[in-house]
């Protein structure tokens, strides 16, 4: 390590840093922020609450102000009200684009009887006891669990606090509680017209015993929940003032960027840093066991230095890892005689043998990178016995614990300041980037901001696993399945994150079979679903990715149901209707989507529609994707129609946002994305070869929201899980080519190369006898149905739900 500090002009940095400190620092923040919110509140349009919106305070400074030293009303972990009537809501889940600051503040505000234009929002600090997510059972944000978990507790918190405030006011006036009402952070005694702010009774309310039971509002009384109210975090995100982890500036801070060993499990052997250290602005070269970092006066100096390092690596055990080899290993694993049984009912073998028709298929899904727009970044200042960390994380307590472990200190010596996240999609459930920043900062006598390059971010993500699914079904005389056999082979994400405690006793990873086990149709007759846990090479870690298990399973199940419909010579919508005869919520979304999409109406040559219906994360959703496939094989999205029943909806605008963006996110992956390894190295590096859908490729997306009174479902991932099967079903309708491997391979879709994909002989491997392939028949039917989808044949039975 060399310290070489050229005198770069840091004056400007200091000026800005001082200003930042003023804005973000300590007690001042409250005063400034309160003033700005009050100014806005006066001009609030009650029909559109929050026209400009309070800025969420994306630091812990409000929590500091509202935490231990807080003077005022602090009835629970989520609500703080000051004597001057400032309401601060501490939001247990992290904001990464999904609108949870909006959703969870709505739940509290609804029952607390405050307007969203009257509140400040603060992210929860690490504290398992206070902020454990009820469904995940740890402090984290993921799996579309936030609203499902918070729905009752946060409304109850609001109702309990409101009850105390009303009681305090009623006691002060010596009137019955029943004669008082609360509204917009005020209590009013209805008969006399007397009123008081919440702030004026916070001390009294703090002395009252907590109510044991509170009544929650009837949904007909909701003022916020279910209304089209703008998100609270938007204004700061369109004027450059929103602060993400990568934007944090600390006094005296320096900048680092890093190159991890290109081979997973490899180590750093040697570094020649002479050229790097000669770059003006480069301060230090830091050697880590599996990475090398350069620290500079700014990112550019660090990056220039990094590019000039001559690094030698020990490639380690994965020097020859290739995607081809990994698939071969998966294939071998999948041929195991027995898998861990997730579900077994009836007698598959017998029903399969007796079936009128048998269909089988193998599906493969690639590694996927999260690729959030904000590259991984964290600011760390290691000080005498601990550290302060400024970053965005989905798992604040895990990040705190991981940092403390590296430093050899108790977790309470590590302070995590959590910030807005510039897209996560599961990426920030990982703490690797925080750990690496801590390792770097240990060598630095100043706060250091580690920023990953896009290349580092793409190549050193932990990817969504490869999935190999073998599936077969026997059809009865009516064309519906009478036997269903599905084997999932994949590395276990659950083992990585939760450990054996997350697995079922017989070795099933519940994530790997989610929605394969209990699809929207309910369980199939004579069904056998099992799981083979594939052991990835050491150092190759798999991770949660938007849609988690259901993204994998719904692609397989809904592609295969489509294949069965065509094998049975039936319209894919009509076929699903029959399967949904006892599933009213699934049937309702299917009918609405099909109707709105004009299912069965004519399309131009080369176009096709694909349909799916699903339940995931407690929400029901059907989608119709319409594509045009060119003779050269290029796929153009023409139109997307989605119908969704997510139960009671906290914010319909956010729901639509999530479904629109979620399905386009999934289509991006299905159309373009895979991470591949060659000689141990990741072959993709940036957005030119791991590419994103762009606006000129984006079709109109219609989202039909069906309001029901069912408990709220998760919605951040339901659009994503629908995407790939709807796309591939549409491509089949347009071309007759069934794609059983993602992403879409254009070369298979060129007009003169189009082939019917024959099902491979897998039944023996699955324990059933070898089949008499019914492929020839199936393909004729497929042709007829593709024609149907193009509107060349009349269809009936499409109508109102």
């Amino acid at each position: 390590m060399t310290l070489q500090a050229p005198q770069l002009p840091t004056r400007e940095i200091e000026l800005v840093t001082d200003r930042r400190r003023l804005i973000l620092g300590g007690g001042l923040v409250l005063g400034l922020a309160v003033a700005s919110v009050k100014a806005r509140a006066q001009t609030a349009d009650p029909s559109r609450v929050n026209p400009a919106g309070p800025q969420p305070l994306s630091t812990d400074d409000v929590s500091a102000a509202a935490g231990e030293g807080f003077r005022g009303f602090a009835p629970d972990a989520f609500i703080r009200i000051t004597r001057d009537n400032q309401v601060i809501l501490i939001i247990p889940n992290v904001e990464m684009g999904q609108g949870i600051y909006m959703g969870e503040s709505s739940l509290i505000a609804e029952e607390l009887e405050v307007g969203l234009d009257q509140v400040l929002i603060a992210p929860a600090p690490p504290n398992e006891a206070l902020y454990k997510q009820p469904l995940l059972q740890f402090q984290g944000t993921g799996g579309s669990t936030s609203i499902r978990g918070a729905w009752e507790p946060l409304r109850k918190a609001g109702a309990a606090a409101r009850t105390l405030l009303i009681t305090a006011a009623a006691n002060r006036w010596g009137v019955p509680v029943a004669e008082c009402v609360a509204e917009r952070a005020m209590v009013r005694h209805t008969p006399s017209g007397r009123q008081t702010t919440y702030g004026e009774v916070v001390d009294d309310a703090s002395r009252l015993p907590k109510p044991e039971q509170v009544a929650l509002k009837d949904p007909s009384q909701f003022k916020i929940i279910g209304k089209m109210i703008r998100r609270v975090d938007t204004p700061a995100k369109v004027n450059g003032t929103a602060v993400y982890g990568i934007d944090v500036i600390r006094p005296g801070m320096k900048f680092a960027t890093v190159q991890s060993c290109p081979w997973r499990g490899g180590t750093l052997r040697a570094v020649d840093d002479r050229a790097a250290l000669a770059v003006p602005g480069v301060l230090q070269v830091i050697r880590l066991p599996d990475a090398v970092a350069v620290v500079g006066e700014h990112f550019w100096a660090a990056k220039q230095g990094l590019d000039l390092l001559k690094v030698q690596w020990n490639a380690g055990p994965n020097a020859n890892m290739s995607t081809e080899g990994l698939w071969a290993s998966m294939e071998q694993a999948s041929n195991a005689a027995r898998g861990a049984v997730a579900h077994q009912s009836g007698d598959f073998d017998r029903a399969f043998q007796g079936a009128e028709k048998r269909v089988e298929a193998v599906y493969r899904q690639p590694f996927l990178c999260h690729a959030p727009m904000e590259p991984q970044a964290a600011v760390v200042h290691v000080t005498g016995g601990g550290a302060e960390i400024w970053c965005g994380t989905q798992v604040p307590t895990s990040a705190q614990g991981a940092a403390a472990k590296i430093l050899g200190v108790p977790p309470e010596r590590v302070t995590i300041h959590n910030y807005l996240i510039g897209g996560a999609f599961g990426r920030k459930l990982e703490t690797d980037y925080v750990e690496q920043a801590v390792q770097i900062a240990r060598f630095c006598p100043y706060p250091v901001k580690m920023v990953w390059t896009r290349e580092q971010d793409t190549q050193h993500d932990n990817y969504r696993p490869l999935y190999l699914d073998k599936i077969s079904a026997g059809l009865g005389a009516d064309g519906l399945p009478v036997a269903w056999r599905h084997r999932v082979t994949a590395a276990s994400v659950t083992i990585r994150f939760v450990g054996p405690a997350g697995m079922r006793p017989n070795g099933v990873d519940p994530d790997a079979v989610e929605e394969a086990e209990d699809p929207v149709y309910g369980k199939f007759q004579n069904m056998l679903l099992d799981y083979v846990q594939w052991q990835p090479p050491e150092g190759l870690r798999v991770s949660w990715w938007r849609g988690v298990g259901p993204t994998h399973a719904i692609y397989v199940v809904e592609s295969f149901v489509d294949e069965l419909a065509h094998a049975a010579g039936q319209d894919p919508v009509e076929y699903r209707r029959k399967l949904l005869r006892n599933q009213p919520r699934g049937l309702a979304v299917l009918n609405r989507a099909a109707q709105a999409a004009g299912w069965g109406t004519p399309l131009p040559a080369g176009a096709g529609r694909g349909v799916i219906v699903q339940k995931s994360f407690g929400s029901f959703l059907a989608a119709v994707v319409e594509v045009q496939v060119a003779d050269e094989g290029d796929v153009r999205l023409r139109r997307i129609t989605v119908a969704v029943d997510s139960g009671i909806t906290v914010n319909p605008s956010v729901l639509k946002q999530q479904v629109e963006g979620g399905i386009l996110f999934g289509l991006t992956a299905a159309l373009f994305n895979e991470i591949t390894f060659e000689r141990g190295r990741v072959q993709q590096s940036n957005f030119h070869d791991y590419r994103m859908l762009r606006i000129n490729e984006t079709p109109p997306v219609e989202v039909i929201h069906i309001q029901t009174n069912n408990p709220p479902g998760g919605i951040g991932e339901a659009g994503t899980t629908a995407a790939a099967p709807a796309l591939c079903n549409a491509i089949f309708a347009a071309t007759g080519v069934r794609l059983r491997e993602l992403p879409v391979r254009r070369e298979l879709l060129r007009k003169n190369a189009r082939k019917r994909t024959l099902a491979p002989p897998i039944a023996a491997a699955l324990g059933a006898r070898l089949l008499t392939p019914a492929e020839e028949v199936r393909d004729e039917r497929a042709d007829a149905n593709a024609a149907n989808d193009r509107g060349e044949l009349p269809l009936d039975g499409i109508g109102e739900p």
Binding site: L8, V238, G240, R694
Partner: protein, 150 residues
């Protein structure tokens, strides 16, 4: 290299390497972090700023080549089309994670300044260099049209 930069109407003196992209001058030297780093190779548009009203990817523009009036997301609200775009973005609840939206607003404001009534094709042409990982594209398109009408 010592250089005067006209940023958001103020002259700022910086002393930076000539090849240092303007993005890092803005973020790490001047502390204007509203302009974002996404790819570093002009693929994603998160770093879009205006120079004399034209949209520029600041991640590949060397500081030595950065002349003219530089406007960033922090000040684009002072321009008529910047303000109109920001308002339309709020009206239609465009934003999700928001990380790319500085660049989206800058590209949209520049489009509206030179074309007050853009067609879908105009929008495709002007906005296809800006990636949104949350895929807020349908709302971006609608918001540009709304801003154009205002």
């Amino acid at each position: 290299m010592r250089k005067n930069l006209n940023v958001n109407g103020e002259v700022r003196v910086v002393d930076v390497p000539p090849d240092m992209p303007l993005l890092w001058v803005l973020r790490d030297v001047l502390g204007l972090t509203g302009t974002k780093y996404g790819c570093g190779i002009a693929q994603c548009g998160a770093c879009t700023i205006h120079i004399d009203g034209r949209p520029v990817r600041s991640c590949v523009l060397p500081a030595s080549a950065a002349g003219g009036a530089i406007v960033t997301i922090e000040a684009v609200g002072n321009t008529p089309t910047g303000a109109a775009a920001q308002k339309a973005w709020l009206d239609l609840d465009v934003v999700q994670c928001g990380y790319c939206q500085s660049g989206q607003v800058m590209s949209a404001a520049a489009l509206l300044a030179r074309n007050p009534a853009p067609t879908d094709e105009d929008i495709d042409l002007a906005m296809s260099g800006n990636i949104c990982r949350c895929a807020t594209y349908p709302r971006i398109r609608d918001a540009i049209k709304r801003a154009a009408r205002s």
